[in-house]
């Protein structure tokens, strides 16, 4: 589980998050992403999550989002990527 407090999943944080996710993936456990503090998500962030999801699927792992706020869910739904992320 990602323990670092993530406030935004956006273009500004994408590279840092990518490294963090890659590290976490190596643990082999169910990937849990706590979205409690996330206040901003953009298309770069959504694409990053889709890539993460794809990578986990490849390893027969899965991603679990917890504490997704309505506002963040709304942002993801606008692009209709919620289904692909298992949030639909």
């Amino acid at each position: 589980m990602i323990t670092e407090q993530i406030k935004e999943i956006s273009i500004y944080e994408a590279e840092k998050l990518q490294s963090m996710f890659l590290k976490e993936m190596q643990s082999g456990e169910t990937f849990i992403l706590d979205m409690r503090l996330v206040e901003k998500i953009d298309m770069v962030g959504i694409q990053l999550l889709l890539s993460l999801s794809k990578s986990l699927e490849e390893k027969e792992q899965r991603i679990e989002f917890i504490n997704v706020s309505d506002a963040m869910l709304h942002e993801i739904k606008i692009s209709h990527c919620d289904v692909a992320l298992g949030l639909g």
Partner: protein, 699 residues
């Protein structure tokens, strides 16, 4: 404010300016298709941009205006005077609405009602339309004439160029806007190209979208939704029923396995691909970009089909004649430039001290180049005053109309350039003076006829450059200033003593004193004596001067002189006592030596005979309380401001100096004739003369 929002605001200001200009032009010269087109495009652009940022209220309001303008463009309605007034009110309301939306504030209820009433009024002019009832939702953006059966469905296919994410544009805004102007039935993200996390470049877009969109809108309007990102995406828009375009899309995006995706997503119940020849497919494919390879794009002009399919792309770099730059970036550049100029002055000083010819040559070359760069940077800040002046047309018209006067307003010299900051800061004082001219200068039509004048008054606003300054004149052919009345009022208010002897120019200038108004009637436009002193102060703050001439019964002329820029000047360095001073080069007429003979000939008088004319002299040492000079030589720098000439008595002439103006602290506020400071190469501070103030002080 975020940069994008600032750009949006600037865009809106530009568009509102165009709108107002076109409306005033209709008021002046009658309705013409160009003006209607300009107003329509302005309204449409504001609507489109606002939609991108999710400012729904702006979109709704602008849409109502746009509809009526579209009807006017199509010749379905005739634009009359009332409608022009209505559009002017709409422009003002829109301006306020934009401010409120940007500040994320709640609109006051009175303004809300105004907006609703304006929309009602707009709709009431629509052909065959009844005004909207208050309870109706004004936000329903649908063409009234279209029925349900006629609603069009569009297929929008979008892929992003490699740098799309770094452009700062948000695809979410596009999706939101599509939902405002119509309905997104299906939005199918295309995910095949998204790589595994290890291979992902997070800043590159791999995702794409296939959208089924329902809207009673023509193709052009849908395409315009993508206006701001059109150069950064690969876009195809076509009617849902257009099989040929669908086939082309599928052929061109073969690797996306689109057929199955579109069927799975229920875009289509079946896909019968129209036979697209191998060659044509290849041609289309080549012309469309692979994701992340924007350099391969080409505009498929000849592939635009009758069914309104478009492929927008950017093979060749788009050449734009202008670039919008944040003014603060230019200010920053000017600041750095200033520091470089100061640092180079230091090098020049050192090279002189070291007597090193090579260093001297290099530093001189550097100085020349810096001068070129400095001029270039300063030039970026220069804008034509005409754009700012054009908005005064409406103010003049409105003011004249309000008080029942007939005024012809003539602008000349609009192409004159001035620093943007100066233009912005001079705007309010000019508005104030124009209103005064109309309210108090121009007579009532009946009085004008009695005075043997045309019933229509005339106000001229001119701009031109003169000796490195810009001159702005406001001249009217009204009743002129009554100097006896001004004098009496000034004595009554204690501004001057009853025994004071003043020249005409000095009497007229009294109208710029606080609390002096000679207006017989106080109107809501002017006449309270509040404002003209503020006008003068604003102009003086800009290192400018203001003068007034007048002839009773014939009119008045206000002349404002302003420096072209506030950031730097070409200066001439002189020394008085132990202090160095800079005189703006453009104000210097000549430098002469004051011989011992002339000095003795002066016999204590403060003027000399210069080639037969009397030249008033000002001993800077005395005025600024400098120590007595040990220099045997005395020099006179003859300076001019407007029509006035004075000789400044200084000790030494040190030569030209590129002067970067640094503001002085409050301690210098009351020092006569000093407008700023500059740092010399030696690290010393030189004070910059304010020639206008010095001359005023002397004369």
């Amino acid at each position: 404010m975020e940069e994008e929002v600032e750009i949006f605001l600037e865009d809106c200001e530009d568009q509102l300016g165009l709108m107002e200009g076109a409306l005033v032009s209709i008021q002046d010269s009658g309705v013409d298709a160009d003006s209607i087109g300009t107003i329509f495009r302005a309204m449409h652009t504001i609507k489109g941009s606002a939609g991108m940022f999710g400012y729904d209220n702006i979109v709704k309001f602008a849409h109502a205006g746009e509809n009526l303008l579209d009807a006017a463009r199509e010749g379905l309605i005739e634009v009359n005077e009332e409608m022009v007034d209505l559009f002017l009110q709409c422009k003002d309301y829109l301006e306020h609405l934009i401010e409120v939306e940007i500040r994320e504030e709640e609109m006051e209820s009175s303004q809300k009602s105004l907006g609703e009433n304006l929309v009602k009024a707009l709709i009431s002019y629509m052909p065959g339309e009844k005004p909207l009832e208050k309870s109706e939702d004004l936000g329903q953006i649908k063409e009234p004439s279209m029925s349900e059966e006629e609603i069009l469905r569009w297929h929008i296919s979008i892929r992003f160029h490699k740098d799309f994410f770094t452009t700062g544009m948000s695809i979410h805004s596009i999706f939101n806007f599509l939902n405002k102007i119509g309905k997104v039935i299906i939005n199918q993200p295309i995910l095949y190209h998204i790589p595994l996390l290890e291979a992902l470049n997070p800043l590159h877009p791999y995702i794409g979208f296939e959208i089924l969109f329902e809207a009673d809108l023509p193709y052009e309007e849908i395409e315009e939704v993508f206006e701001f990102i059109i150069d950064d995406v690969d876009l195809m828009i076509f009617e849902h029923t257009d099989e040929e375009s669908l086939s082309q899309l599928i052929a061109s995006r073969k690797e996306d396995l689109l057929s199955q995706t579109l069927l799975d997503a229920q875009f289509y119940t079946e896909i019968e691909t129209v036979d697209v020849s191998e060659e044509k497919t290849e041609e289309i494919k080549k012309s469309l970009p692979e994701v992340n390879k924007p350099e391969e794009l080409e505009i498929l002009e000849n592939e635009k089909t009758e069914s309104k399919t478009v492929t927008k792309s950017t093979g060749a770099p788009k050449v734009s004649s202008s670039l919008r730059v944040d003014a603060t970036k230019i200010d920053l550049l000017i600041n750095y430039m200033s520091e470089i100029v100061i640092a180079n002055s230091k090098i020049i000083t050192l090279s002189e001290e070291l007597d090193n010819s090579e260093l001297d040559e290099a530093s001189s070359r550097m100085r020349e180049l810096l001068e070129v760069v400095r001029e270039g940077i300063m030039d970026i800040r220069m804008v034509q005053v005409g754009d700012s002046f054009a908005k005064f047309r409406r103010i003049v018209n409105d003011t004249a109309k309000k008080i029942g006067k007939n005024v012809e307003f003539i602008i000349t010299g609009g192409e004159t350039e001035l620093d943007k900051t100066v233009v912005e800061r001079i705007s309010d004082p000019l508005v104030h003076m124009l209103r005064n001219s109309i309210d108090h200068g121009i007579e009532e039509p009946s009085d004008r006829i009695k005075a043997g004048k045309s019933s229509k008054g005339r106000v001229d606003l001119r701009a031109y450059t003169d000796s490195g300054t810009i001159v702005i004149e406001i001249e009217d052919d009204g009743k002129g200033l009554d100097k006896n009345r001004i004098l009496a009022k000034a004595i009554e208010n204690g501004l001057i003593s009853s025994t004071a002897t003043l020249s005409d120019a000095e009497i007229y200038k009294l109208i710029f004193e606080a609390g002096l108004s000679t207006a017989e009637k106080v109107s809501d436009i002017s006449g309270r004596g509040v404002g003209m002193d503020v006008v003068r102060r604003n102009i003086e703050d800009l290192r400018g001067s203001i003068d007034i001439t007048s002839a009773l019964g014939k009119g008045s002329k206000i002349t404002i002189r302003l420096p072209l820029t506030l950031a730097s000047i070409d200066g001439f360095l002189v020394q008085v006592g132990h202090t160095k001073y800079i005189i703006p080069l453009e104000s210097i007429q000549e430098c002469i030596e004051l011989t011992q003979e002339e000095l003795e000939g002066m016999k204590g008088n403060e003027f000399i005979n210069l080639r037969g004319d009397m030249l008033p002299l000002m001993d800077v040492r005395v005025v600024l309380n400098e120590e007595k000079s040990e220099s045997a030589r005395k020099n006179i720098v003859i300076v001019r401001f407007g029509e006035k000439i004075v000789g400044l008595l200084v000790d030494e002439l040190l030569g030209e100096h590129q002067t970067v103006i640094k503001p002085l602290g409050d301690a210098f506020v009351n020092v006569t004739g000093i407008s700023g400071g500059s740092i010399l190469g030696s690290g010393e501070v030189a004070l910059i003369f304010d020639i206008a103030r010095l001359i005023e002080y002397k004369i």
